[in-house]
Symmetry: C3
Subunit: 311 residues, 3 copies
């Protein structure tokens, strides 16, 4: 009684007939994860299924939506609560995306990390910044408008605060991608403001023909309380050769009041083909602000080794 | 690694081979919603995926089941709890549907509302009645048997109360649909009893060739306590021309003890084709019984504007 | 807008093109369930959808993962918590399965029950043992390695306890299946230890050409507290003819301290074809240890009748 979904390539002959469609993809992780941050070394198992829906209006606008099973508990709520889904409509006017999507800062800025680890060790250490900006500070329902012109793209975004504080988040971002004699270069600049904090991030990245990739970033987080992260700077250096990717990244926060919190991550990916990738990740950093014991910033580390499986 | 599901029309050549199948459809909403009932004006985003399963026995009975992701949290429980799913078996004997399905009253009666709004404003105002009858008063696990004969169809339904009160719900419904010189006419009559309350609803609707549609309804809700809704009457008038549908509806409850609670709704839908519909909805009504402030029935309203996207 | 998934058989022509794929299957139950254990006689409705993902690496290893909607609430958590998913990688070295999967004891041993009932009455009575061994006593994240050689197969398994007790579970199992003049014979032997308890199970089963099948099992549960189940023995006798399967099973636990808890189950399945099976189940047994009223072991029974629908 099993139904098999066809891979995209098998469907070329039918594509014209399908005006609205639901495509399904899956991802699973298996391996072990450990370190001195909390849990013992333990098996790591996870699986998810994503539904990507798309269609086209009679007038040629394209639209779509994405839901995945991992976000589903949140998705059960009514439309006023952010529930892990996102949807878009797109045309010559640009593209509007709503729901669980990046604000303009995160959309424009590129993270310093590369590759994947089953427990994301290399991108969750204490010195890592994922360009989250002010996203999620007002309920997480984001609307973003973006427009591309040549090598440039720009976006504006909003997130409405329905609490009494009324701290709506607005953002703007610009990014550029180009090719200089084989070296792929990208720049990103994003800004967000919620009338309490004004944050920005600027990032640059270059991938050379010899397989070396360098990502750098700087962010001003406009801390308002002693002990909060105020500014951040980071760098990642990666190398890809054949099926292998390795990368190291380092980031450091200046905390309002004087301290520094930093950390670094290491990742190696080996592509077995067909959707299976061997992944090893490591992250270490200062104990994050608020978690220090007896006022001391010790260090903590995590690691994971396993398979990432895409279907 | 994405798999694309084919649209139905592309599959004609294979249909004979598929005796049991799972079809997938999606629906998403994006826009804004507001009003003076609770929340600020805010982004509205929602998405859902529905799995519709069907099969045929060797003897020619057809059967099927439906699950959707929005109802999934409830669907996790065991079979004795109603969990958002429904399933059926059908043959020359009629059709039996069980689970999260309409009781015979709701099955027979037609609502006065038409069209869709992303926040359902026009069908959730204080004066609206959705023919829910006594459905859900005994756990929500409903079994319904229906049978069609020509332009008529009839159904009986049951919902078993496993509480000590033992107030099982039984229902019966009859409906008719016909065509008089191009005017499509429908009537519905439903009755439910749980040994405490005996409720009924009667509805009529007509859709004329000029695009005007009129729906009317009356219900006796057999209120048992002062302040509960006792009787209801409502009317909806809609107009469809090309891709546009507009409708207004009005409904009014007589409350046991003397008061009246009424409200009206307005909806406009414009079909962009391909599954995308522009939707605007408005609803206003008296503050519902029990929500009045200082004993006063004020008024409350909600609105929403956005896109409904079907995949 | 509905998308129909093709049945496997229709896809033979495309199979070579799909290197990684997601297949979808569904299962639904409708009927009634009752008995004197808790609930009144009540409608039983349930539905589930399972996603089975599979792929092949360039080097010929096969891998896959399974998620189903019923387990989804648990699946939402991070990879360190067991969430209902399982995934595997397989090659000439054998097969490694992780996540929500059987430990080596359950993998090797065969249950005495046959057939299905919508409420599983015949396999949940007080005298039934499902070969669960020590599975789930340490969080439920299991890793199992298995290898086949001719008619034999062997497995080892582990489940890591991250609590302070550190009672990791290790298991080993062996099974055999063969054919002696048409009689299909199977043996299973499984052992698990968590440094507190050492449990084992041994099972044997034979299915004769006349349709009669006999399953027997014995388990030592190594009870550590008075009143806990210490040993178990059971037998099941089934008969299959055409579309009909009937089976009765009986099992009995010796409780540490002297008492006996036993029960029996009865099931009948009639296959309507196309995925629909009429199912009737009955189970009765002593009130399980801990549930007795006034120190007395009374008896309790459950039954269910309905349809199991596979898609």
């Amino acid at each position: 009684m099993k139904k098999i979904l066809l891979a995209t390539t098998a469907l070329v002959g039918f594509a014209g007939a399908a005006s609205a469609e639901v495509s399904i993809s899956g991802y699973a992780e298996m391996g072990i994860a450990g370190g001195n941050r909390g849990a013992d070394t333990q098996f790591w198992t996870d699986a998810n299924v994503t539904f990507s829906m798309s269609g086209t209006t009679d007038g040629g606008l394209t639209f779509g939506a994405t839901v995945n099973l991992d976000d589903l508990t949140g998705a059960v709520g009514p439309g006023l609560a952010q529930g892990g889904e996102s949807m878009y409509i797109s045309g010559s006017f640009g593209k509007i995306t709503m729901g669980d999507t990046d604000g303009a800062l995160d959309w424009a800025a590129q993270e310093i990390g590369m590759g994947s680890a089953i427990a994301d060790d290399h991108t969750t250490h204490a010195g890592y910044y994922a360009n989250s900006g002010l996203d999620g500070t007002a309920g997480g329902q984001i609307a973003r408008y973006e427009y591309s012109f040549g090598s440039f793209a720009a976006a504006v975004s909003a997130e409405i605060d329905t609490s009494i504080a009324n701290n709506d988040v607005f953002g703007v971002g610009v990014k550029y991608s180009g090719d200089f004699g084989g070296t792929k270069v990208g720049f990103g600049l994003g800004y967000q403001d919620n009338s309490v904090r004004s944050v920005y991030a600027v990032t640059a990245n270059a991938t050379m023909t010899n397989g070396i990739a360098i990502n750098v970033g700087y962010a001003d987080l406009d801390a308002q309380v002693i002990g909060a992260n105020d500014t951040w700077a980071g760098i990642g250096v990666g190398y890809t050769t054949g099926a292998l990717l390795v990368q190291a990244n380092y980031g450091s926060y200046d905390v309002l009041g004087g301290a520094t919190v930093d950390g670094w991550g290491l990742v190696a990916n080996y592509d077995l083909g067909g959707g299976a990738v061997v992944m090893a990740g490591y992250g270490t950093g200062d104990v994050a602000a608020g978690n220090e014991i007896g006022g001391l910033y010790g260090s903590e580390d995590t690691f994971s080794v396993g398979l990432g499986l895409s279907f």
